[in-house]
Symmetry: C2
């Protein structure tokens, strides 16, 4: 539907940029659709037509920001790769901006597409780690098991039970997963 | 702060009841603070003072509805009790009303108190099941492990990865947990 490099893509880029700039300058709560439209150089109706409302726009921007920027680090074995990835995932998602993006992604997302995209980002990173391990001949769990054992507890606790979210917790989740795998 | 049986408790009851009645009669999207106030026989400012806005009120109502009404069933052994509880938990939370309450509980809850209460409800039910099993002399995992292994994957998938949420999935989570425990 969105033609890359076309007008639609240019509008998305300028509107997302306007949201990030205004958020940094004025803070989250000051954002309004007319303000974002003026900064982006589009009409408010363009934003309403495309995003519905501010909450859905903020959800799209949040998902963009939750997109991993680099492939997971290769430390030479599955346990080290998963430890490093899980620690970084927890650190990023549990940080104040991470929590705000997760909330925004969920709140302006009645149909669940953006939440699904957040989960797909994590699954893609995990698939890279598992494919590397399989290439080394290491026994590997499947990706859905890693989601259940490592990603789900971290995300559940961030949203519902925020105590004790530290690097040792992430490593305990990975150790428990691999004990069941090998 | 809220004196049980006092005015504050009466206001809460009448406002919560008004929300549930109007939701049933007019649907979620038709709710407004003045409408709820009129039905509850309070002033809108009473609602704004106590709840802040409609989203925070809906979050409180949602948490009330997510409160378990009965203790978990006693089927005579830990595996059966956890299977039955996890299946029912998944069925209730993944249902359309369950999903709507979870969303409401999270959305109108900037400080995370209501989300924490949802998690506390699940933890209380699990503690009852584990205490019973310990009384029978069965080996039992600790409650945080049950949260990580059973509750977290179900809630994560409801919010972020909704495919394949069925009773066999709940039982697989419980079986995996108990295989690691015994």
């Amino acid at each position: 539907m969105v033609r890359p490099g076309g007008r639609s893509a240019r509008v998305q880029t300028s509107v997302h940029t306007a949201v990030r700039e205004l958020e940094a300058e004025l803070g989250r709560d000051a954002l309004t659709v007319p303000l974002v439209a003026a900064r982006a150089g589009v009409t408010p109706s363009t934003i309403y037509r495309r995003w519905g409302d501010l909450q859905e726009l903020l959800s799209d921007v949040a998902v963009e920001r939750l997109r991993p920027e680099t492939p997971p680090e290769d430390r030479g074995d599955l346990a080290s790769d998963l430890d490093a990835w899980a620690e970084q995932f927890l650190e990023e998602m549990a940080s104040p901006p991470g929590r705000a993006y997760i909330r925004d992604a969920l709140l302006g997302d009645p149909d669940g597409d953006n939440a699904g995209q957040c989960s797909a980002y994590a699954a893609e990173q995990i698939k890279v780690i598992l494919a590397r391990a399989a290439g080394r001949g290491e026994p590997t769990p499947d990706v859905e098991t890693v989601i259940d054992r490592v990603v789900a507890p971290i995300m559940y606790r961030i949203l519902f039970r925020p105590a004790g979210l530290d690097a040792p917790y992430a490593r305990r989740l990975v150790a428990g997963l691999l004990a069941a795998t090998s």
